[in-house]
Amino acid sequence: MKKNSVGVVTPQYFTFAEPPDTLQLKSGRSVGPVTLAYEAYGKLNARKSNAILVCHALSGDAHAAGFHDGDAAAGWWDDMIGPGKALDTNLYYVICSNVIGGCKGSTGPSSINPETGKPYALDFPMITIADMVEAERYLIDFFGIEKLLCVIGGSMGGMQALQWASAYPERIIAAIPIATALKHSPQQIAFDEVIRQSIMADPDWRGGYYYEHGQPEKGLAVARMIGHITFMSDQSMEEKFSRKLKNDNLSFQFIDDFEVEGYLRYRGYNFVKRFDANSYLYITKAMDYFDLSGDKFMPIVKKTAVRFLVISFKSDWLYPTHQSQEIVRLLKRKHAYTTYFDLISTYGHDAFLIEIEDETRLIKNFLANVSPD
């Protein structure tokens, strides 16, 4: 067991919007019942004023910290969550839930449609970031938490943090959007579209209704490979792989000669084992639809008391610095007291998962001055 770990954790499940209720979605459609898988670390204080909501990125899940029983690998942000860490579980109650539309225990396209007894597949309604936050709001209500001390997340998790601030400014004290944007640029939408097309081009996708036959493995693996290229930087790839060969010689065949090829294949095919192809389609679409630019951000609020810590990374070309600066510009217009850092890193978009030392220093100090009163 690693030092300062939250230890063994068990996923929990919360179900809402049960008949006759449904969850009304931004698309105009509705869905129900909805289950959210979540984990929580630390102790909720008597006033319920020390809760921090962690929002995960595209392929993340509720397992942010600690270990599942018998599992060797820790949660996806274990370096940031635990006793004495940036999100100090001695002080805070840290909650992380899998998004609606996901495939890690929350209701999504691979869940059973109660009307048919079969997986929803493409009958599942389109999901937006606002819908994800709405579902999270139900979870926070279920905990009886009136005000979150902070909502934090990187990438799509950062979008959720911004959405929380925009939709429920009165219910959060601080927000920490990391390596994210107010809206996807055409370049980001383009990458997502290529990712979706690679899944949909696989005959095993079967129009989305593949659950009886198994995943569209090739398409999903290629989709993930594209993703991984965008998560790294030119420099981090040079440092990690350079032009190193897997074997000593070039094969003069179409096999993975270079280490970078092997890495992408490994990552791609591992992903197939753990992630549902349709969820990848739904969630990338949700990110493309996200747009809180201009007047769409905090539409009814002229001045906000929500405190922000915005973080970007210099080598992140998927969510480049200027997109975080755009967030900061919008926050200035809302008179928001904002701390913004463009951190030095060579890791590209992955930096928010890797640059733990700088993030810890910042987030710890920032949170130390965020008080529930």
Binding site: V328, T338, T339, F341, L343, I344, L362, F366, N369
Partner: protein, 204 residues
């Protein structure tokens, strides 16, 4: 050199005290080029001010966050554009004017964003500076201008008279003025005897 720096620190501290005496309790304050946040932390502590800093240097910014300040990484020239008119009770430009490229633009923008603007700068017309230049033929180095020519961050050298002229030309109202010697206020011929000046200005 170290004794010199120590004296500057004392001088700066009296700067901070004057600024703290100018601003009212609970004021919204923006400090452009806030450095390590010493002044803002002082204002937060003494005046319960709500403070926002803008700074470019990452190490200094980390120190600000450690002090519990909100600080944006950005340059001063572009840092003000998005703030609505009169967002702050005070905008502070302390010991930074001599280092910014578009000084006029930054002052005008500060007057738009802040109800009042506090400007502090070293007076290049101080008698010691004048004597150094005239008799020694050398670029002045003193408590307020502690740098050699090859290492100075200062790109413009202004005097108290220059600044007063500027305010007159640009129809800027000088609300208050403070002139500082090494560690004492100067009342007589400030352009000659003050090392540092602090002005509180507003738009006419």
């Amino acid at each position: 050199m170290s004794a010199l720096i120590e004296r500057i620190v004392i001088n700066m501290k009296s700067d901070h005290q004057i600024i703290a005496s100018i601003i009212n309790k609970g004021a919204h304050v923006l400090d452009l080029g806030c450095g390590n946040g010493e002044l803002l932390a002082f204002l937060m502590q003494q005046k319960k001010a709500l403070v926002q800093g803008i700074e470019l240097d990452e190490n200094q910014m980390h120190q600000c966050v450690e002090r519990g300040l909100t600080v944006l990484q950005g340059d001063i020239e572009s840092g003000l554009v998005d703030y609505p008119d009169k967002s702050f009770d005070f905008v502070i430009l302390n010991q930074i004017m001599q280092q910014i490229k578009k000084a006029d633009f930054v002052i005008q923008e500060s007057l738009r964003v802040g109800k009042q603007v506090i400007v502090g700068f070293p007076n290049f017309a101080h008698i010691k500076a004048r004597l150094t230049l005239v008799f020694r033929g050398k670029t002045p180095i003193n408590e307020a201008l502690p740098y050699y020519w090859f290492e100075t961050p200062n790109i413009r050298f202004l005097t108290i008279s220059d600044f007063i002229d500027y305010c007159g030309k640009k129809e800027i109202k000088i609300e208050q003025q403070y002139y500082l010697g090494k560690s004492y206020p100067v009342h007589f011929m400030p352009n000659l005897f003050a090392q540092n000046a602090l002005f509180v200005i507003t738009r006419k």
